[in-house]
Subunit: 424 residues, 3 copies
């Protein structure tokens, strides 16, 4: 459990809050690159850390990210015109470039040079991994660009999607770094079904309740869920938590191709999260169009409106829960592994009251993440650099296997040939 | 009128409020038995006195009523699995029996026996009259089971329904114990109509404005509206108010069968009420399928969604008010006697500001109910037992008749052959 | 900019607020006369300055405007019966005349004469210009009836409409007295389009950014936007601001008939405004049915639901913004000049934070209006009579023309043959 005070401390992310200031030290996923498909295309609304912003791709293919509201009279730049290297407010024709400079003003005589006195909030952006990232913190603290194994993968081999979760960001993260729920919530009741999930004959399901092994690192932590299978074998599944909201986990396509996958739980505001989902092929084979539908996860274009990024299975329709399917085919009666996650996490309310929890040993990774986040808040408050700012995480992978009881899980969480890092 | 303070005192029912604590001394209707049709059927959400709960019928046909949120990480048990005498949370597989004990845990090694340290909130239930009742108060104060004439009637002779009213509970009750509005709000303008209501030739309508006679009793009060018809006759209609929210009144089916009927205005929360409606045949004849449609009241399956229990005529559509019908056929232009009640009571806002009322002699029963409710709050605060806890009300009936001017209305409010009770 | 305190002072209009008390010194448009088409027709809900009211046309064709809530038990008179010179509550049959007197009571014996002790809130009304106006201030301060040039025009020559804007009233007014935005926001990109707006060859558009000339008057102010066209000519467009929320401007029908037009931004409550739109022919020719559709403005029955007065183009559908049209035909991609105004003003949020503005010389009229409104609040607080109470504005007109550089714009803002008033 957390005290109500610490719960508020970790979950509130608006500008000026301790966690909000901490978040703003990291590069933030702001939108998918494909939402701005070409230079001078229509601008897009972005809500990030409780701030209303407008993203636009300018004539030179650079992405600008401005305060939504024109500094003149506070009209929304969403209605603006994306013109020749700038976004122009339609109310009085003030035009801003991607640095926030006012470069033209239609309603004032040009000889007044009034435009030179005006600027708006603009955040630096960069694009890697099919994602536009923004830096919203103090300029002098600007971090190195994000650099993950998945952002280095060629576009042919990776898919990235996003979907809104109607909870605080931490609720999503805590589901994602909790191996203990996965073979329960996502379990199938029979091998005789085509629904997504873990079948009864999967060692992930067959294993007993896990013990957790965890190494704190300079980027966050790595950990493994270790499930006894029998006298000689264990099932091991390794994960990484990279501060402040990245998960890396092993996965597998429907056709059996081994994948590395992960999520980012990016705060829209205190009660909404944009969940980014990525996964890439670890073989020479590229991802197929079918792979990009993410049917088994429920994150793709069949399951999520690609304009609003709202899930078709949502609280308003009880996630299309089918009680008969729940009796006979899947543990939840809800289709889609991540739809199941959203259903259960949204059911806890927008910000779960962690002072009323009862955590056990299986929640060790969740508890450790909270400790690291509280530490980061203190570090930032004290003027320091929190974990995960430096891209020491750039080569991390994750894996899952049945291994002898005495196998070293740590080797599985590193790229082939790597040295095991010194753990903190 | 009531002071704003007393208005708040009587209308707020969350745990820890004075009225909330008083309500919790009585058995509360929680849901209809038929909402849980068979053992191990899907669980149902129940919101009662501002508490979010989950009801389930276990393998042994007993009804459990648990805190909606699993004590582990606060996921909703609505998504739970109703399995072998317990409800299992799908997030981590914690299972609770109807006493709230944790009887299994899938995510922790069983040798830890961590489950023995965990329990959740569970309220005792019982089923009578086709209703599941819950006791949410201090265990040492648990009241005798509810026992009404209507809960003793065979199922063939009674119908019970429910519908959400979008107001505080007291607003509903105050309509139900106010005989003065009935032949006005529910009046028809012509005998030449098939719409429900009281026709102009009905003595209830023909009578002059009523005087009210009222006896306070150990369960609440009984009262009569007495309407002069002519030199020799009066129209009398008797009612009972049983603490804290029960009404008993005379009624009559569309085909003319005499009925006894009533309502319970059960607080969902401070601004929503679940109105339970019951009526039973006082003859040997059972109720027909047609009777169970409650067409004249607007409470049955033709008028109320049987999953959400929201009325089809509601504030959003102005209760399908027809101004032409209002000109020529019925006083309101709205069909359904209780639909008319909900329309007018919801029009007062979710919690009417009783400090702005202007009450007259005809509001005497309303005023007396408030006095008894305030008395009950004081009694409970002082550690005592409020009126209506003991089932002294078990045989009460109500009646309506045209009688000589000097007839004794009190006899009409008792079962045939009963003694008139001593009134307080 | 305004301080947050002054912003709140000018935008809050509930009873008892300084601006609310100031507004209540003026006659307020309450509804269109045609919403109450005949004696004893159905009553209509009116929300005005945050007060919930019911309007009804009585048997003698007079309009009553009562507190929505019956003083008895606070049921809504919306459901009431409009009967023989009074509105009767359907709950207990209390009937009120248009002065608020209780003239009948069905639920109390008439011999008690209880009705004589009861009255409800009633506001005086009058009808001019196709509008029902209400006076909601202190009776001893009741102002002279509204008397505008447009309220004197025969019905054949004028059209009046209304539409809800989802912002505070001041946001609407500030758009209406801001000439600087008009040829920008409402601009067309090509002469080759049938969409509404100002075409590139219009001198209003061809002119350079305007300078503003402004005379404060006893009714508010008059002002002109003066746009240089070339060495010898200027484009002049004159406006009037009549306290507290009237605009008069020049206009022109689609077929080229010269019109005088205007708006009134009447507060529904702090976050909603009823915008009244009027325009009349200044020639002998009456308006046509086509003119009354107000296609170019987006205010007529094709664009606004005539029961709810909600615009079909609204925030929920991004005003049906067409990005392709925005690229090639119109500055906004939204059809309807006033739909464009509502889009941009609603985009600022319900009450724009004026402490974050950056105003320039082109905002001079906006700044001056705020000064006059703050002055009016002080005047009323000090017991005085604010500007615009006396109908000194009765003959004002507005005009637009290309004139020589040294022409006097003041003559254009007066009826032909008038003397130029002394300006304050």
């Amino acid at each position: 459990m957390l005290s109500r005070e610490d719960n508020a401390l970790l979950t509130r992310v608006e500008r000026g809050t301790p966690m909000g200031d901490t978040m703003r030290r990291y590069w933030m996923p702001a939108l998918l690159s494909r939402e701005l498909p070409e230079p001078d295309c229509p601008p897009v609304r972005v809500r990030l850390l409780g701030e209303d912003l407008i993203a636009f791709r300018d004539t030179q293919n650079r992405v600008g990210l401005l305060d939504e509201y024109c500094p003149h009279r506070r009209a929304s730049l969403y209605f603006g015109r994306n013109e020749e290297c700038g976004l122009r407010c339609v109310y009085h024709g003030w035009k801003f470039d991607l640095d926030g400079r006012c470069v033209d003003m239609m309603n004032e005589p040009s000889e007044l040079q009034f435009k030179d006195k005006v600027a708006t909030v603009a955040y630096p952006t960069l694009e890697v991994g099919g994602v536009v990232w923004a830096y919203m913190g103090p300029p002098e603290r600007k971090a190195a660009p994000p650099d993950f194994a998945w952002t280095r993968v060629p576009a042919t081999h990776i898919t990235v999607s996003k979907v809104i979760q109607e909870t605080n960001w931490l609720q999503g993260l805590e589901g994602g770094i909790d191996t203990s729920h996965a073979p329960i919530l996502h379990r199938l009741l029979t091998t005789n079904t085509s629904r997504p999930g873990f079948k009864p004959d999967n060692p992930f399901v067959r294993g007993k309740a896990p013990t957790l092994a965890l190494d704190v690192t300079d980027y966050g932590y790595r950990y493994a869920g270790i499930r006894p299978l029998n006298e000689t074998s264990i099932h091991v599944r390794t994960y990484h938590f990279i501060m402040p909201f990245h998960q890396i986990r092993p996965s597998r396509s429907e056709s059996g191709v081994p994948l590395v996958a992960g999520h980012m739980w990016v705060p829209i505001d205190d009660e909404h999260t944009m969940v980014y989902n990525w996964e890439y092929s670890t073989t020479d084979a590229p991802l197929t169009d079918e792979d990009r539908l993410e049917r088994r996860l429920g994150n793709g274009p069949l399951d999520v409106d690609q304009t609003t990024f709202r899930a078709k299975r949502n609280r308003g329709n009880n996630y299309l829960l089918d009680r008969q399917v729940q009796k006979t085919e899947s543990f939840t009666g809800i289709d889609g592994i991540n739809a199941q996650d959203r259903a259960i996490q949204e059911s806890m309310g927008p910000v779960v009251d962690r002072s009323r929890e009862h955590l056990g040993p299986a929640d060790r990774a969740v508890i450790q993440a909270r400790r690291l986040l509280l530490e980061a808040v203190r570090t930032v408050t004290d003027g320091g650099v929190p974990r995960g700012i430096e891209p020491t995480y750039a080569k991390l992978v994750a894996a899952e296997a049945v291994v002898p009881r005495d196998a070293d899980w740590r080797e599985m969480s590193l790229p082939a040939g790597s040295q095991i890092e010194q753990t903190v």
